[in-house]
Amino acid sequence: MARVLVIEDNPANLRLASLLLCNVGHEVLAAVDAESGLAIARCERLDLILMDIQLPGMDGLAATALLKQNSATVDIPVIALTAMARKEDQEKSELAGCDAYIAKPLRYREFYAAVDSLLGRSVAR
């Protein structure tokens, strides 16, 4: 179906996101930090990126902003995934250019809804 890059430093959470995506037939690529995630985004064809915000080194907000500044990656929708559950965290992620926001702990219904919605939109375009 779609190619999804998951950038997540916590191995269990990476496995969970991968499992949920693979379960509905998506292909999953994974990165454990923003830098390697950006490298993958530049050279792979991607339909969606799941971006953890708290990452070692560059954080997810900065990485998203870079993705959105690059014409090659600007169209890849980004879902921010963060355990910072405050309203201002959501606003920050919007400012950085994230297309959707999911607060951890993620619930698969919400997760699928966001993924489907963004994939549907990017397919329609």
Binding site: L19, L20, A113, S117
Partner: protein, 806 residues
């Protein structure tokens, strides 16, 4: 000669002078009438018998002799010689002495002594003329006494000044120091003579400010608690509080300034310490909040995997499991959820405590909020056969509250009540409006624990009461109830899983609203919690009303208002429910007066009137209505007893409903009055899609006159149009850029004015079960039409279905 002699005689015989003449030895030769009177001797007693020294104070004579001996440098004997020695040398002599009367009493006299000489200048005697000096002496004594008194007074005043703990000084109008006290010397470390005569500003660290203080005293006549810093000779600085007044002489002429400077160094130090402590505490509090926010994040990260995996596994996303596995994975999921709610509560509490939580007041439909809250605990209650009741005695209607926080309050109370109720118990939720005076009070015999209501201008409050028939709380424990982490009995805590934060949160949230909480309980019988939230004026209500008056048709379609006049709460609730189901916005009045007020203020489509209101009020009201032109056309449905139908109709009622009132009966009546639900009128439909072609395809399916179609090509536009136009139905695309269909639904459901508009989702995307779940969470009024699988007949059926009342 004769004349002169007579004059001399007169003087000599004057009663006011004592004239005593002696021979050269001092023996008295003449003793006149004055002398006789003053001294009490007869002339015969003394003439040729004694000298004037014998009737003088001997001590004085001794003293006078000694004095003269020194003065004239020759030994003079204390006796008559001492009296006349100077006169014997030709020196005129006038002095004071004390004469002793015959009766031994004494009096002061001034004596003038002259020597009497013969032609050859030989002394032949002495003349002593004396006057009684008593009166003058008395005056002098008096003056001396007054002087002493004055000195005493001055001493007293001085002591006062000196004993003052304040450094005191007086200055002239130019600020030159004229007097100081000891404390001033100590404070400045300078001697008195250095201070007096110097400009007082010299002794402060900031002479300009010191000068300004004096200027202010001179213009305002006084100055209080003016802070200055004194610099002492050794450089030491002292912060003083400077108080000064001007002083004037008896002619009100300005004399100068009287100033007192109090050492406030200690107080200053105390204040500074306090300030530092405050900063420290604020810092600590901020650190705590930051720590909690970080902790919350750190805890959510592992919970993500726990809840995420367990939920997916539980719901079969990873294949089938045995029942036992299913049960265990369910336990993991529930525990994860519990842990999450703990974390959220802690974070919320710390936010409120740190003052970081703000109130977001909006207009909310309280009735549905309460009903929603009940439905959340319904499952738990049902599992333990606990009955749930909602009793709202009055028109609650749109209320200005923070929705999320109010929900949290109600939910916390309800879930507590359900948790602590025994099997088969009953939990009821009451809501009503109360005046300020009622806040904090609870009816009944049970002991009450309440809190002081914060000062505010709010006069009316919403009271939300949750009662249970549970285990109850002892009087002592009620006090601990609202403190964080205080599930009263730790054994209870084990039995009734909970965070112990719920009630603390309820209290903090109520207080954040400007309200309060209370509890009343009896052990073994049950507990009642009450929360009072202030009823705020809706912001901008006036503007909306004005807008409605000029452009009533704009908001007309979806909104029909019924006034329900009913004194009995139960009946009112029943009729309200029925009317709301018919699509009315219901205003309720419990009395005729209230009804008239509401009727005059609100545009009405229907009035229902109970004729069994106290007194003959119902009939009177009906007649009154007919006299107001604005109200005369509003149909009135009488709620009457079985035998009163005909009377009501003649009284001007448009219809009559007989108790007990049922749904079918009401529907029929509405039909008769042409007040059937919106579905049977021409329908306003708002079609929302970012693709204009799609909009036109749908619009073509909704032809006039049955439908009028409004078009929106984006989510934001749709929200705006829905709010202004209040369409009867919205046909909504989900996948739009920027503001999606999900966002539109969310926004409309949050707004009381649009929350009831049915929405039909029309989407090209595969609508997943998950999408359906997400939409279903919002409201039951949302139906989904699949664009890919589209035929006209089924679409129209869907539209018709959606337009039917709920």
């Amino acid at each position: 000669m004769l004349k002169t002699g007579a004059l001399q005689d007169a003087i000599f015989n004057s009663a006011y002078f004592s004239s005593i003449a002696t021979d050269e030895k001092g023996v008295i030769q003449i003793f006149n009438v004055g002398a006789e009177r003053m001294l009490g001797y007869a002339a015969a007693d003394v003439v040729n018998a004694i000298t004037p020294a014998d009737i003088s104070d001997p001590q004085e004579l001794i003293a006078r002799a000694a004095l003269l001996s020194v003065e004239l440098d020759t030994p003079i004997t204390p006796g008559f010689e001492a009296l006349v020695f100077k006169a014997s040398r030709g020196i005129e002599d006038i002095y004071e002495l004390t004469y002793i009367r015959k009766d031994g009493s004494r009096f002061p006299a001034i004596v003038s002594v002259t020597s009497l000489r013969d032609a050859r200048e030989n002394i032949i005697g002495y003349l002593l003329i004396g006057t009684d000096n008593t009166a003058r002496k008395q005056v002098e004594a008096q003056r001396a006494m007054l002087d002493q008194r004055l000195r005493d007074q001055q001493f007293y005043t001085r002591s006062l000044i000196e004993s003052s703990i304040d450094a005191i000084m007086t200055t002239d109008p130019q600020g030159i120091i004229s007097d100081i006290n000891q404390q001033m010397i100590t404070l400045t470390g300078r001697p008195r003579d250095e201070l007096i005569g110097a400009p007082c500003k010299n002794f402060f660290t900031d002479p300009v400010r010191a000068d300004a203080a004096i200027q202010r005293v001179l213009t305002e006549n006084k100055i209080s608690n003016y802070e200055l810093t004194v610099r002492a000779a050794n450089g030491e600085e002292t912060v003083v509080s400077y108080n000064a007044v001007t002083f004037h002489d008896r002619d009100h002429k300005l004399q100068g300034v009287f100033a007192a400077a109090r050492d406030v160094t200690e107080r200053k130090q105390f204040e500074r310490a306090l300030q530092e402590k405050n900063i420290e505490l604020e810092h600590a509090s901020r650190m705590k909040s930051e720590f909690l926010a970080t902790m919350s994040h750190e805890l959510r990260t592992p919970l993500n995997a726990i809840i995420g995996f367990s939920e997916a596994r539980k719901d079969g996303l990873m294949g089938p499991m045995s029942d036992t596995q299913q049960e265990y994975i369910g336990d993991i999921f529930t525990s994860g959820q519990h842990l999450l709610s703990l974390i959220n509560d802690i974070l919320d509490l710390s936010k409120v405590e740190a003052g970081m939580m703000t109130l977001e007041v909006e207009t909310i439909d309280l009735g549905s909020l309460l009903a929603n809250s009940l439905s959340i605990v319904r499952e738990k209650a049902a599992a333990r056969r606990i009955r749930l009741e909602l009793v709202s005695g009055v028109t609650l209607g749109p209320t200005q509250l923070d929705m999320r926080k109010t929900k949290q309050i109600v939910y916390n109370l309800l879930s507590n009540a359900v948790k602590f109720s025994a099997q088969g118990g009953c939990v009821s939720l009451h809501a009503r409006h109360v005046p300020r005076a009622v806040v904090g009070t609870m009816a009944g015999e049970w002991p009450v624990h309440n809190f002081e209501l914060a000062e505010s201008a709010y006069s009316d409050f919403l009271e939300i009461c949750v009662s249970d028939t549970g285990i109850g709380i002892s009087r002592e424990d009620m006090a601990k109830l609202f403190m964080a982490f205080s599930q009263i009995d730790s054994s209870l805590a084990r039995k009734f899983e909970g965070t112990g934060l719920g009630l603390a949160m309820v209290k903090l949230l109520a207080e954040l609203h400007g309200g309060s909480v209370a509890v009343s309980s009896a052990v073994g019988l049950g507990t009642r919690f009450a929360v009072w939230l202030p009823l705020r004026e809706a912001a901008g209500v006036m503007g909306v009303a004005a807008g409605a008056a000029t452009d009533a048709s704009a908001s007309a379609p979806a909104e029909r208002t019924a006034l329900l006049v009913e004194s009995d709460d139960r009946t009112a609730d029943l009729i309200r429910q029925l009317l709301e189901d018919e699509g009315f916005v219901v205003l309720r009045a419990a009395s005729i007066d209230a009804a008239m007020r509401l009727a005059l203020k609100n545009p009405l489509n229907l009035i229902t009137l109970d004729n069994q209101l106290p007194g003959d009020g119902g009939w009177e009201f009906l007649l009154n209505l007919r006299e107001h032109s604005a109200l005369a056309r509003v149909p009135v449905v009488m709620i009457a007893g079985p035998s009163e139908g005909n009377i009501a109709l003649t009284g001007g009622a448009a219809g009559v409903l007989q108790k007990p009132i049922g749904r079918a009966q009401l529907k029929a009546s509405m039909f008769d009055l042409g007040l059937q639900p919106a579905a049977e009128r021409a329908q306003n439909v708002l079609v929302v899609d970012d693709d204009p072609k799609a909009v036109e395809v749908i619009a073509a399916l909704l032809p006039p006159p049955a439908y009028t179609v409004a078009r929106a090509y984006g989510g934001a536009e749709a929200i705006d149009m829905a709010r202004r136009g209040r369409p009867d139905l919205i046909l909504l695309d989900l996948l739009m850029p920027d503001v999606s269909g999900f966002d539109v639904i969310d926004a409309l459901r949050r707004d009381l004015g649009t929350a009831r508009i049915p929405i039909l989702v029309v989407t090209a995307a595969q609508v997943t079960a998950v999408d359906r779940a997400a939409l279903g969470g919002h409201a039951s009024a949302i139906h989904i039409v699949d664009k890919t699988n589209f035929d006209r007949a089924s679409f129209i059926a869907e539209v018709r279905h959606a337009l039917k009342p709920l």
